[in-house]
Symmetry: C6
Subunit: 227 residues, 6 copies
């Protein structure tokens, strides 16, 4: 699979944008995620973080962009099954090499070096990627190492000039680390579980403005929708 | 005892489900626990976590599925006694090899390697299993090692394609670890002790929807019932 | 002193019970403490934890059961003095070998191995015992070791099939350890100091039901009474 | 100076009591501090803990009892100066050997072994003693070592059968350690600084009852008075 | 590029001031930042800290002062891109040597010694500098080392007699470290994200007075403005 | 410069007092700071702690007492500049040897032993001294070492029989350490930053009474004034 160069000339002031696969969220972001970008998706357990990642990557692969799902918390076969249960059949896209699931599932006992070099390879060569999640790495290897890794991911993505989503679980870290993640990523989307449902809010963007309101989130058989 | 293959063809979109042994809870879960699954049962002291595990395993063994109770916090003879006091005589099921109580009681001083390899063996070979509890392992061996173990259990269960319940005690860990447990398990049931009684809530499911309300819990001589 | 076998046949479903020495508390427990059992007595400073232990053991020794007070926080002579000031003369019971005070007072500088082996010996050979307290052991040797010890005590008592009370001081540990203690013991009684007096509540029992209300506690020259 | 044996026959049920030097406090304690006893004086900065200790020791020395002030936080000359400024001239009592100020001031750089052996010597040989304070020892040497020391002090005082006051600063330790101190000492007096003044409350006694109300505290040129 | 000596004679009592590039903020500071000075800019994620730094440095370089941006959290090319998107073309100023972007981006894996010596060189030789940010250094290398570095930066700037802004992320550190940063810097500006927008407040100045009110902050295509 | 013996005969009951340089504060202290004394000045960032120290030392030097400013957080030249900006020209006093600024600025990288021996020398030989601040030492070298140092300073000052002010930053330490500092110093003055301004309160004195009210604080070109 060859990488597609979807960003415009460096000197241009117009910002190229990647659609998220969720129409209303693209409006909130004034047209999608700026390219290149690192997006932090920080959310409570059960708010649909992984579904957003899957929806985004499925959409991008369908658009012909080389998309990679870096599977850390759950094995690829489980991610595939979940996507299938949402009606997103990945088989064809995988055959065409537009969508890849890379197995970095921590339950396999991979060593840290292998995880890093694999992340580096796919972040640099892909157009779009998802790291799901940075939280397990921080929990097992410590928050300092994980912050260092986020900085490296930022650098690799800078070279790759693609768009990546970093998944992080709210409440699974020190408050300091959750702020540090937000500092390192140029865009931050927050997902909260409240008494009366799930809510999404864009907290930070770079090279674009954004709506600052909170939106209800609904997950059904067709994926995520903003209310 | 031979393992029974109770899951349907991988390509099917229909999700096979295991009844919990508690009728109302099956309704809350829209028909039972999806197979395969790892369920986290996270609850306050005295809310009946172990009784739910026992009721589930007794039911599954009666249905002819090979069921294993991995006894970590209390010795097997105590679990058996408690089940008998609830009217669940395990003798016949044990003789038929449908129900096993494996002694990993920490008061024996087993080493960590033995605990891990025993868990691996029974999680892979059984149809249904209970780990009671992950909390003592986290307390003694540390939360990082316990999180690593949960990831491994996830992987072993993935191979075994069965249904397992992981018991965890709310308040016995850092907040971070309790969130981490919820991140690692595809299904999460919460049990809370409040002023006016015990309450159950399903917090997270995968490949199924669920009711999000809170239900009162009653424990009597016939086991657990939802109100 | 020979140990008396006061528990009934293993196959019987009827639960044998040990009176606590406090009539109203026996009613709260629906007839006393199930035999065998480990009871956690978790209470604030100054709520009468030690008096309950002394009253229980004095009562049991008078009933002819071999009873041992494992003195960790205060030396035996101080426990005896306190019991005498409450009108419980221990001399005769000590002479008959029905009541023993074992000196494990931490101020003596005993090493940890000696403490463990002494606990093991008396927990296994006695009918009734009191560990007063686990809190000092946790404070000096760390909460992990203390939790490991509680698991061992559980196992030793399982072999001894007697009734033991573990004294623990609320607020002297991490919240996690206080929950861990409650997880390890099959019965938990909580003693709280409030603005308007001392209060007792049974939090957890196994193989019996219990009243869940809170009761006022009064200590006078005749010991503890529930209001 | 020879130690005076001021406690009655071990078999007597009557409790001998030492006056605190503060009339109203003796009433609160139903006649003074039981002999032998360890009293924890736990109080906020600036509530007069040291003044209470000095008043108590001055009174006891005047009654002819061998009294020792173990000076840890401030050098003896400073304690003497403070007592003189309150009108308590210690010279004559010091000459008669009834009052001693022992220099264990941490600013001198004494090693821990010397501190322990000196405490042991004077606690065993004196009738009355003050340790001012345990807090600095806990801060410098750690709370575990300080708790171990408190247990040893308890044992030494048991042998000495005297009355000792341990001074501790509220808020200078972990909550756990402050509870641990209260667990180790048979009597606990709390001093609080509030918006509207200083207040004293007896929290715990052994072998005696006590008033549980809170009393205002006034310090003037004649020392401490309860309101 | 030669350093310009923009401070007046040491004996003069008149304080030279550097404009911030934000007119209203200069009024709040009674005319700008006193020269020499270290300014701490402590703010929540997404409040525009980096934009203030960029605006300040762009303004100073335009005034002909040798200005250096020390890029730690993000690579120089990203800072340049962000400035360009705000209409600040840095090319000409860079060519003239008035503006430099120094690459200390942590994602490159620079070692600590290199970071320190580079900071020293440019802080001493420049007229104006920005350290963006101290927070990542504290997170990766620890807060003690970072505090030590801040003290050294203070000393280097003292020699250089210039004006430097230190960027720090609120909530990414212990409370103690955030106070320590404020203690070390002679001027402190706080940026808060609230429900109803972003707010700026000057917390501390030295050798000048300042307005103590809170001001609304607006970021648009022309940079930061105070309301 | 020879040290002046400004304290009266040891046997006198009259307490000699040093004026603070702030008239209203001397009234609050019933005539000034008792000699000898260690005063803790604990205050929030930006409440004027250093200005109080400078005002005190300037006043004392003008009265002919040998006064030393031990500069830890900021270099001497910065302290001098700040004093000059408040109209206090230190040149003449420095020439006469009445006022010294000792460079212990942590940004220089002095080692701990040098800091200690320098503090010892000047605390013993001076009449008046300021340590500005203990907080940076605690932050870099740890709170235990800093508490040990405070105890030593207490001892050195005891020998020197002078008056010293220890500056400490509220919120820059553990709560325990802030209480420990108050325990070690015989006098404590608290400075708080509130919504509506700065406030001063005397918390603790020894060998003198004091007003307990809170006073507003104003800093202008003439230094600190109480309202």
């Amino acid at each position: 699979m060859m990488k597609i160069s979807d960003h415009s000339d460096k000197q241009s002031t117009e910002v190229t944008r990647a659609p998220t696969g969720i129409d209303r969220l693209d409006e909130v972001l004034r047209g999608g995620i700026p390219v290149p970008s690192l997006v932090l998706l920080l959310g409570d357990v059960g708010t649909g973080k992984s579904v957003i990642c899957q929806q985004f990557l499925y959409k991008q692969a369908q658009m012909g962009l080389y998309s990679v799902y870096l599977c850390i918390d759950h094995p690829p076969e489980e991610v595939r099954e979940n996507m299938r249960s949402l009606g997103w059949n990945t088989e064809k896209l995988e055959e065409e090499g537009l969508l890849k699931f890379i197995d970095l599932f921590l339950g396999r006992g991979y060593d840290y070096e292998y995880i890093c070099s694999t992340l580096e390879k796919y972040i640099k060569e892909s157009n779009r990627f998802v790291v799901d999640s940075i939280s397990s790495i921080a929990f097992i290897y410590g928050e300092k190492l994980a912050y260092d890794l986020i900085q490296k991911i930022q650098g690799w993505n800078r070279e790759g000039r693609g768009v990546g989503i970093i998944n992080a679980v709210r409440g699974m870290h020190s408050q300091s680390f959750e702020v540090a993640l937000q500092q390192a990523c140029s865009n931050v989307i927050l997902l909260e579980m409240k008494e009366n449902g799930r809510f999404l809010r864009v907290v930070k963007t770079t090279r674009t403005s954004h709506m600052t309101e909170e939106f209800g989130v609904e997950i059904d058989e067709a994926g995520i929708r903003l209310l």
